[in-house]
């Protein structure tokens, strides 16, 4: 298995705080990798650096064998690297179908094409059926519950047929039934060949679903391995409980 994503010596500083500090890690193709760590350990900043939302002060990001450091998020998205946000970000005034079509990664020369063509609609409906959102297809996204908006955001980033999906706390703020559904969706997409990198605080979710698990503390990885190894690692306990 080759590395789909690799970061080397990545660093990002905000004023006096070094959020990501000389961080090197890799995500192998075909895995569901978890990124865990106490609050403030740099997980979301690392996501921002990898997906181009922020520029690193130093270091490299390599995606699918190419150096993509500093590329814009849009280019990375079209290259197959998509993400969701901690607070689900959907377009509130667009319908559910329109949210999906907007995320399909159309280029500027398609601006004159119909807003939602028959082909767009078919593609969206397949995903909506998979995510059990069919009945909401023509509702405005603002009318959906928070949990369903998270499902919608997840479904939307799959419109571009990504190779790697970064999920930022997919279960935060959603009810236990939806957590289970979220888990199923990750599993089925993983079976279809998508690689995942997941930031998550719900450790039972992580232990059930992810392998390997990478633990971040103070902006760099301190432990990595299968869930049971990581759980037994004293450095991880230290980081979480303070040593």
């Amino acid at each position: 298995m080759s590395d789909l994503l690799r970061v080397d010596g990545l660093r990002k500083r905000f004023g006096g705080v070094t959020a990501v500090d000389d961080c090197s890690l890799a995500v192998a193709e075909g895995t569901v990798t978890a990124l865990i760590g106490p609050n403030g350990s740099g997980k979301t900043t690392l996501f921002d650096l990898v997906t181009g939302y922020r520029k690193p002060d130093a270091g490299r990001v390599v995606f699918a064998g190419r150096d993509v450091t500093g590329r814009s998020p849009g280019r990375l998205y079209r290259a197959g690297l998509s993400r969701t946000f901690q607070q689900a970000r959907v377009f509130p005034q667009l319908t559910v179908v329109e949210n999906l079509v907007a995320a399909a990664g159309h280029r500027w020369w398609r601006l004159a094409a119909p807003r939602v063509s028959a082909a767009d609609r078919r593609q969206a409906e397949t995903l909506l059926a998979e995510f059990d959102l069919t009945e909401d297809a023509d509702r405005i996204a603002a009318e959906l519950s928070y949990g369903r908006r998270k499902l919608l955001e997840f479904a939307a980033v799959l419109m571009s047929a990504p190779r790697l999906v970064l999920l930022d706390e997919p279960t935060a703020g959603v009810n236990p039934v939806l957590v289970e559904r979220m888990e199923e969706h990750v599993r089925s997409r993983h079976a279809a060949g998508v690689t995942f990198l997941i930031v998550e605080h719900d450790l039972s979710f992580v232990m059930r679903l992810c392998d390997p698990v990478i633990v971040l503390d103070a902006g760099r990885p301190i432990s990595e391995g299968d869930p049971s190894t990581v759980r037994a690692d004293p450095r991880v306990l230290d980081a979480y409980l303070g040593g």
């Binding site: 939302y53 998205y77 970000r89 377009f91 079509v101 907007a102 004159a112 094409a113 807003r115 571009s160």
Partner: protein, 315 residues
């Protein structure tokens, strides 16, 4: 396009097309000309301010550019034999101004929301100051003169009326085309969450610069017709007038941002209301206070505008 939509549009345009033939008094036709002019302007502003969510306060600058471009094209002639001929300049003025709009949008649209509003209102005052001070080109405060349109006095309004109706239809068709294509979807994502839209690879930059260029091109064409209607001379304070910008914004807010019919409705209500108030309250400019009160009421009672509020009730 639905059949009811086509029917609605057809009835609307036909009604307006028949009106001047009914022998209405000149002051009514004059009022209708300004209603049509503002309906076209508001529809044009809606492309940027409504669909894209960028509150431009600088559109009057492009209105003035269109007006001065037209006046300058006619300035050298002593008299006109064919009154319709100058209208042939409109497409060139529209396209030319749209091209001027491209670099301006590319720079100004790097800012957002309130900063964008300030940048564009600065543009308005820059253009107004230029109009006052480039004496060689604009004649400064003395105004810029050009030959009067040689139309017969009893039907003098008609050509302006029909050309403005044409521009309104053009603006509405462009709005409709935008709303029903991917560019409308892209603009809606810009309005909703521009950073997220960029992250989804949506061509945000091209979409908003295109919307701005088309919007200011339309605005300039309306400005040109306005200049022609000013019987032979235009002045900087009226050609580049902040009140025109404010009227466009108010009308779109009243009718409903981002909708096809909202700006038209807003223009019909506000412009006829303003003409009535100006008539009733006389030249005291008290009508401007009434105008401000209408705006406050809209923001309090119907913050989304008339049409979206009604649509919301019906859902």
């Amino acid at each position: 396009m639905t059949w009811t939509g086509v029917l609605k549009g057809g009835v609307f345009v036909l009604t307006l097309a028949v009106l001047p033939l009914l022998g209405l008094p000149h002051w009514v036709l004059n009022m209708l000309i300004f209603v049509l002019m503002f309906a076209a302007l508001a529809s044009a502003w809606n492309l940027v301010g409504g669909l894209t969510g960028y509150p431009s306060l600088g559109h009057a600058a492009f209105f003035g550019i269109g007006a001065y471009a037209f006046a300058l094209l006619l300035h050298g002639q002593t008299e006109l034999t064919d009154g319709w001929q100058p209208f042939a300049w409109l497409p060139a003025i529209g396209v030319g101004t749209a091209l001027i709009g491209v670099p301006i949008a590319a720079i100004a649209m790097r800012t957002r929301a309130d900063v964008f509003a300030i940048v564009t209102i600065t543009l308005l005052f820059v253009v107004q100051t230029l109009a006052f001070n480039l004496h060689g080109l604009t004649g400064g405060a003395q105004g810029l003169s050009f030959p009067v349109a040689p139309f017969p006095a009893d039907t003098f309004e008609r050509p302006f009326y029909y050309v403005l109706l044409g521009l309104l239809v053009l603006a509405m068709l462009l709005t409709f085309g935008t709303l029903s294509s991917k560019i409308g979807l892209a603009l809606a994502t810009v309005r909703g969450d521009e950073d997220k839209a960029r992250g989804l690879g949506i061509p945000v930059g091209s979409a908003k610069v295109l919307a701005f260029a088309v919007s200011v091109g339309l605005t300039a064409m309306v400005g040109a017709v306005w200049a022609y209607y000013q019987v032979g001379i235009i002045y900087p304070q009226f050609a580049v007038d902040p009140l025109i910008t404010i009227a466009m914004v108010l009308m779109v807010f009243l009718g409903g941002r981002g909708t096809l019919w909202g700006p038209v409705l807003g223009a019909f209500v506000l412009e006829s209301g303003q003409q009535y108030l100006a008539y009733e309250l006389g030249p005291s400019q008290f009508y401007l206070i009434a105008y401000a009160m209408i705006f406050l009421l809209i923001m309090l009672v119907l913050p989304r505008g008339v049409l979206p509020s009604i649509a919301g009730r019906l859902r």
